[in-house]
């Protein structure tokens, strides 16, 4: 099994300036280290810069100051082109491909990891997100939640080492969401992925995370950094337990104190 990726944000600054209405400082000297193999959840108010942070980690955006480093076993590697999975906030499926063809895209682009059968992997990924019967449909024939699940399958299909998810389950019904939460955490641990997961659900953060980082409103500062008090293997019952409620409470307080 390959080693996991760790991510370091070092005094990262990013502002959006050329816009139509003045400058907007989104990140201003942010420091953050994400351990290899950890499941880290980012929690923060809307518009604080969470998506921006993920884009920086994926190498899709560049910091104006500071830098973002990805390391595997102490050696640095480039963010782009490695097996990084990204589930965007919107589905962004290619409209001219069927769902299955969309899910197969990463294989075509990155080449497939040794010996695997792409068609089977695509099918498996679709089954995992409950879309096994929809592979032949075009994106415009799918409901909003189905599109989103499709994009999750696409990100999963080639077993990423670094997995970035930007509010992936916001458009799903609660039962599907709970199921996928469990599935995702299981997979992450099984494949030793490093996960950066953005969510706005405090419950979801508390349930999924090894570590929860809470941000202030823009410019995003870290106003809370919590190691999970729970055992690595999570079970449904956890959600209804007393310690869970307490953890949710402290995350909630951190958000409020941060000024959200």
């Amino acid at each position: 099994m390959e080693s996991a990726v760790s991510v370091q944000f070092e005094r990262v600054a990013r502002r959006f300036g050329a816009g139509s209405a003045g400058e907007l400082v989104v990140l201003d000297g942010l420091d953050l280290a994400v351990e290899a193999g950890s499941f880290t959840v980012l929690l923060g108010p809307s518009g604080c810069g969470k998506s921006t942070l993920l884009r920086l980690a994926a190498g899709l955006d560049e910091p104006e100051q500071g830098r973002v480093r990805l390391t595997v076993d102490g050696t640095e590697r480039s963010p782009v082109g490695g097996p990084t999975g990204f589930v965007f906030q919107e589905a962004h499926l290619l409209p001219w491909r069927t769902l299955a063809e969309n899910v197969a895209l990463p294989f075509e682009l990155a080449g497939r990891p040794g010996g695997e059968d792409p068609a089977r992997a695509v099918n498996e990924a679709l089954e995992r997100v409950g879309l096994g019967a929809f592979g032949a449909r075009m994106p415009h024939e799918l409901s909003g939640g189905m599109k989103m699940r499709g994009s999750l399958a696409r990100a999963l299909v080639c077993a990423p080492r670094l997995f970035l998810l930007d509010e992936p389950f916001g458009a799903l019904d609660e039962l599907t969401r709970l199921r996928l939460d469990d599935e995702l955490r299981r997979l992450a641990k099984e494949l030793r992925m490093t996960v950066l997961f953005v969510t706005h659900s405090i419950q979801e953060a508390a349930y999924l995370a090894d570590r929860v980082i809470v941000f202030s409103p823009r410019p995003a500062r870290v106003v809370g950094d919590f190691a999970s008090p729970f055992a690595p293997v999570r079970r449904e019952e956890l959600r209804f337990s007393e310690p869970f409620a307490r953890f949710v409470g402290s995350l909630h307080d951190a958000l409020v104190r941060g000024g959200a």
Binding site: F86, F88, L105, L109
Partner: protein
């Protein structure tokens, strides 16, 4: 069946209206036939000169299709190359415009010298006249690709070639079809103009030559019949592009739905 009627009826009704108006006006105002012949006279000319016109349509049509295919392939190839690099686009795109602004009539004699007489030179003329819309259509389609989809491809370290073939070409397809639509008409016009200057009147004359000699002899009805032939050619080529485009886009693009 009903759908077919709904599809075919409106243009036919419009045609009948237009022709009726034309015939009526020409008769009412007693316009001399050599200035503007009535549709009935043009129809008569179509019959009288049927065989000449038919072979003209075939000859001009063959050349126009050749020129159009040249435009479609080379034009898109150029767009793909220029679309792959901002620097190349900046460097060469302005000069593709030259093709568009050079009056073909002036360089047709050169084409004859370079490509020999007859159909080859004429097809090249058709190509030059019709290639620019293909380039500019495809190029602006490529430039309009959703930046989020670009990000997706970058993320997976997609090669330039993969971005081109799997993202830009399909995303630009609707605009490529628009460009080809314009090019289809221009290819026919380019052929006719090419024939004016480079079309040799050996064997069966193309429509361009027929138009010219009809004009010289004041056979305005034959002239209009030949122009009609060229329009039919243009419409045919256009319909082919339309059908192909519809087939390619039907599964996903709003313009091809409903």
């Amino acid at each position: 069946m009903k759908r077919l009627v709904a599809l075919v009826a409106p243009p036919l009704v419009a045609l009948a209206l237009l022709l009726g108006l034309w015939e009526g006006l020409v008769r009412a105002l007693e316009v001399q036939a050599f200035l503007l012949p009535p549709p009935s006279a043009i129809a008569r000319a179509c019959v009288v000169h049927g065989s000449v016109l038919a072979s003209g349509v075939v000859r001009t049509g063959t050349t126009a299709v050749a020129g159009f295919l040249l435009s479609a392939t080379l034009g898109n190839a150029v767009a793909y190359v220029l679309g792959s690099s901002r620097v190349l686009e900046r460097a060469f795109y302005p000069y593709t415009l030259f093709l568009q602004t050079v009056p073909i009539v002036t360089i047709a004699p050169l084409l004859v010298l370079w490509f020999g007489s007859g159909s080859t030179a004429v097809a090249v003329a058709a190509f030059i006249v019709s290639v620019f819309p293909v380039i500019t259509g495809t190029l602006s389609g490529m430039r309009a690709v959703d930046p989020n989809l670009r990000d997706l491809f970058r993320l997976y370290g997609a090669s330039r070639l993969a971005v081109l073939t799997k993202l830009e070409i399909p995303a630009a397809l609707p605009q490529t079809v628009t460009g080809l639509r314009v090019a289809s008409g221009l290819a026919v016009i380019g052929t006719i103009v090419g024939e004016f200057v480079a079309g040799f009147a050996d064997e069966a004359p193309g429509l361009g030559i027929i138009v010219l000699s009809a004009y010289r002899q004041l056979k305005t009805d034959l002239l209009f019949a030949a122009v009609l032939g060229s329009s039919v050619l243009g419409l045919g080529l256009f319909a082919a592009v339309q059908t192909l485009g519809h087939r390619l886009l039907r599964r996903w693009h709003p313009s091809a739905r409903s």
